[in-house]
């Protein structure tokens, strides 16, 4: 593997788009306008299951400003087959088709789109559109239907999200015969919604001649393009999807959501530009993190060696798709255990399909696993960190293969040292500040490091600058900034000389932005494209001035001061302008697809690791929990930009605090609907809830994951926080709470 010089990588660069974001100049999907723009407002079902009998559109169409009301009765004829509604992240099953027919599958299902000349007219008309329904019996509480639990269907999605490995050894025997055992069957977390600050919006510009330019809130411009072309029977080249700025997504934009469908449908039918922005309440009418019930059993010898592990998760899914996530596989990757039984089952109920939400599966599964280890440590009268060191995995026991790299031990040691872990007195309720009980807790984190195929294009422009392009989005992760750093290094030029362009389906293919694989996937393609461009430029230099560059190779030339020169002999040079002239083109382009070698990658388990340490204060009388400080030590390979990387981890930690103590969508199962679809009652941490958060990146070298040696950071910051907080709450109060979020009333 070629190494590239890393002058720009490793720099704590501020976000390149920073000035645009702090001045309000950065434009998001629902902020593009057209002179003839129409506004669409979606109407949602008010029953969870049944059939639409009648929609009273006639009166509403007479209201001022109303242009059209689309329902299942008058929608255009669309793709015939189910699979044409599939996208890159669709679970096995039959994708939801907006306005398909009269059937209601879940509460809040979009049933009509009102289109008007103004936002207010559309909103008002939508609010008074009367619909008659024929109600049917429904059930939304999967914990009442556990008899229906079954193995998930397999499909394209389960390739990236493997189902649990087969049982190993003899769990029952090993568990029964072990001297120390921990067992619980009541680990549970409720429904969660992504709630990015920007609500989902699509502005479709009707360009005429069948062409559409679509500004969409998405994590994948090509994914949205594919969906629109397939569903509406358009040619790919006529559908351009742009997502310049994305106001957060956290998974909500991994699949095309119904505002995209509605906006495009209305634009095509009315032959005008149409914007559809969802309301905050409507942000609860598509995917969510599924509520999950978990059982765990762990046993060990007296010296702490784990002998048996059983982890079972039962998760909610919809009636129409089998959404899966990797929940129970982590335990045997993190800890070597000879006897394992790992199960994962689904219960379909009358809700919309769940959807990947930041750290899907990992943040769910590590909660019982890492809490059970804490309980085991207490049973053994052993320090929880020492128990993890005792069971440290030198290789991935579940697959019986080595890690591509793993510096988790350094995370444990450096984290414990900086946090002051060993200053704690192990006895619960033994530390306090005034009337507040103080607790320390820790947990381990892991997240798989994936690399997917992607393409990038590098160009020498006629101005003598470099331009690198990919269809990838930047959902706030810092993609623009780190890709510019990576491209600069791969070309061997300064940051000022290269511009990274992104967020446009016309640009070279990138997969949906998720799973912590963007730097790895798109970064590798950027490196490949930049190297291809250097080769091409050298070839042209040889054509221009054969004798001087005859023996030079790509790695021996520099691109500085507008010239291509020999690194060893800088005076042997040819100007970019001459290269352009010789090439006979206005620009010199090279593009390259990076396809990771599956055979090499299959030999290794590739994962980022973390260790989280948390201090909580719990008011002894009121039970109020406060995370006073938290530290996460992360081993994730090369850190391209320490500033944006730290923000990714800190942001993940806030999500972990939120999952542990705040957020939950609560369902009224008698009505089959969510009760708190707003930001006042769906609690996320506010500024006053967030205190001292610290991050350590331990050094980790990895030559296998990808040419950059970088593992991705979007998820690893979250996964360890919820169990570390639950463990700290136990240390503070002596109470084991197995449900998330932990509320003060559970401690009283």
């Amino acid at each position: 593997m070629e190494t590239i010089n890393q002058k720009q990588q490793g720099k704590a660069l501020s976000r390149l788009e920073g000035a645009l974001k702090v001045t309000g100049a950065a434009q998001y999907a629902g902020e593009y306008s057209a002179p003839d723009l129409l506004y669409g407002h979606v109407v949602n079902s008010t029953i969870p299951k049944g059939k639409i009998q009648k929609i009273y559109t006639e009166e509403i169409l007479k209201l001022p400003g109303i242009i059209e009301i689309f329902t299942h009765e008058n929608r255009p004829s669309l793709a015939w087959f189910n699979f044409q509604y599939s996208d890159m992240d669709a679970p096995p099953g039959s994708p939801f088709r907006p306005l398909h027919d009269a059937e209601i599958k879940y509460y809040g299902q979009p049933v009509a789109l009102v289109v008007a000349e103004s936002f207010e007219e559309a909103r008002f008309a939508a609010s008074v559109l009367k619909i008659d329904y024929e109600k049917e019996a429904f059930t939304t509480n999967f914990t009442n239907q556990l008899d229906d639990a079954r193995a998930p269907k397999r499909g394209f999605a389960t390739l990236l999200k493997p189902l649990p490995p087969k049982p190993k050894g003899d769990f029952d025997k090993a568990f029964d015969e072990s001297p120390v055992q921990v067992s619980a069957d009541d680990y549970y977390h409720g429904t969660e919604h992504h709630n990015p600050m920007e609500m989902h919006a699509t502005t479709t510009m009707f360009e005429g001649e069948g062409k559409l330019t679509i500004y969409d809130k998405t994590q994948g411009t090509v994914n949205s393009q594919l969906y629109v072309a397939n569903v509406f029977g358009l040619s790919f080249k006529d559908v351009r999807v742009i997502a310049p700025y994305v106001g957060g997504a956290f998974g909500s934009g991994l699949q095309p959501q119904y505002q995209l469908f509605m906006s495009v449908m209305a634009a095509l039918e009315l032959k005008r530009s149409v914007r559809v922005t969802l309301t905050r309440a409507q942000m609860y009418t598509f995917g969510h993190r599924p509520p999950t019930l978990q059982q765990i059993k762990v046993a060990a010898e007296m010296d702490g060696k784990i002998t048996a592990l059983h982890h079972k998760a039962t998760a909610e899914t919809s009636r129409f798709e089998d959404y899966t996530e990797v929940v129970v596989n982590w335990g045997n990757i993190l800890y070597p255990v000879e006897n394992t039984k790992l199960d994962y089952e689904l219960v379909p109920v009358d809700v919309y399909s769940p959807l990947d939400m930041r750290a899907p599966g990992g943040s769910t599964g590590l909660h019982p696993l890492e809490c059970a280890l804490d309980e085991l440590a207490y049973e053994l009268k052993m320090d929880p960190l020492d128990l993890r060191l005792k069971n440290y995995a030198e290789q991935d026991d579940s697959e019986n293969r080595p890690f591509s790299s793993k510096e988790l031990k350094e995370c444990y040691l450096q984290g414990a040292e900086k946090f002051g872990w060993y200053n704690r007195s192990p006895q619960p309720r033994s530390m306090r500040r005034g009337n507040r009980l103080v607790g320390y807790g820790m947990a381990t984190g892991i997240w798989e490091s994936m690399t997917l195929p992607a393409k990038a294009e590098a160009t020498l422009t006629k101005e003598g600058k470099f331009r690198v392009r990919s269809a990838v989005t930047d959902i706030g992760t810092g993609t623009l900034t780190v890709m510019t750093q990576i491209a600069a290094d791969a070309l061997g030029v300064g940051l000022d000389e290269v511009e990274f362009e992104y967020g446009d389906s016309k640009m070279p293919f990138a997969p949906i932005q998720g799973g912590s694989y963007t730097v790895s996937t798109v970064g590798s393609a950027v490196v490949a494209a930049c190297q291809a461009l250097r080769k091409r430029l050298l070839k042209i230099a040889q054509k221009a001035n054969g004798s001087l560059f005859e023996t030079a190779s790509e790695s021996k030339v520099s691109l500085t001061n507008g010239h291509l020169s020999l690194s060893e002999k800088p005076d042997v040079a040819v100007s970019f302008q001459e290269l352009l002239t010789v090439s006979g083109k206005r620009m010199i382009k090279a593009s390259k697809t990076n396809i990771p070698n599956p055979l090499t990658l299959k030999k290794y388990t590739r994962a980022a690791h973390s260790a989280a340490f948390v201090e909580v204060e719990v008011d002894e009388e009121l039970g109020v929990i406060n995370v006073t400080r938290a530290l996460t030590a992360v081993a994730a390979g090369t850190i391209v930009n320490p500033k944006t990387a730290r923000s990714q981890i800190v942001g993940g930690m806030v999500w972990g605090i939120s999952k542990a103590l705040r957020e939950e969508t609560i369902t009224d199962h008698r009505l089959g609907r969510y009760m708190n679809p707003n930001l006042a009652e769906y609690h996320i941490p506010v500024h006053a809830d967030i205190h001292d958060l610290d991050v350590i990146f331990v050094e980790e070298k990895d030559d296998i994951v990808n040419p950059l040696g970088s593992k991705g950071l979007g998820e690893i910051g979250i996964v360890a926080l919820p169990p570390a907080i639950a463990n700290a709450v136990f240390h503070a109060t002596g109470k084991r709470i197995h449900q998330l979020p932990i509320h003060f009333d559970m401690l009283l």
């Binding site: 001045t23 309000g24 009166e59 207010e120 709630n195 600050m197 106001g247 957060g248 930001l679 967030i690």
Partner: protein, 173 residues
Amino acid sequence: METTQLSRNTNTSKIDCIRTVTFTINGQSTQLQLPPWVSLLDALRHHLHLTGTKKGCDHGQCGACTVMCDGKRILSCLTLAVSKDQSSITTIEGIADNGELHPLQKAFIEYDAFQCGYCTPGQICSAVGMMQEGKAQNRAEVQELMSGNLCRCGANSQIIDAIMEVYIPETHE
């Protein structure tokens, strides 16, 4: 909804209720013809194309729409535009001074106080208002008085760091 009520609304013709609103937006006198039910937020975003002010909930729960009105921070989504006739409004587009970023804007970039950037205009306008109020005496009070502005990316610490870099609390002996 009953038909009788609907037809009453139908009869309320748009033309009858249009109001003229005059306000100063970022130092510029601006006049709009608006129905009375248009929020200040939608007037800014849809009618003036000042999309720097963000809509995150439309219910006064997230703070993304915060603007300055006559020197005070307000939630523009809970404010009807017609009620601000003759007022002076400053939005995020008017915080910088002739292209020179406000010290808070610089600090937000330096401290990486945003990721997706969607809550950022509201955070900055709210912080400007909070500083002018002058009530917060320390970091904890700044955190409290900024807690009406949500951030889903989890940039909370950096946002407060950036504000503390710029804010010098008045000391009351």
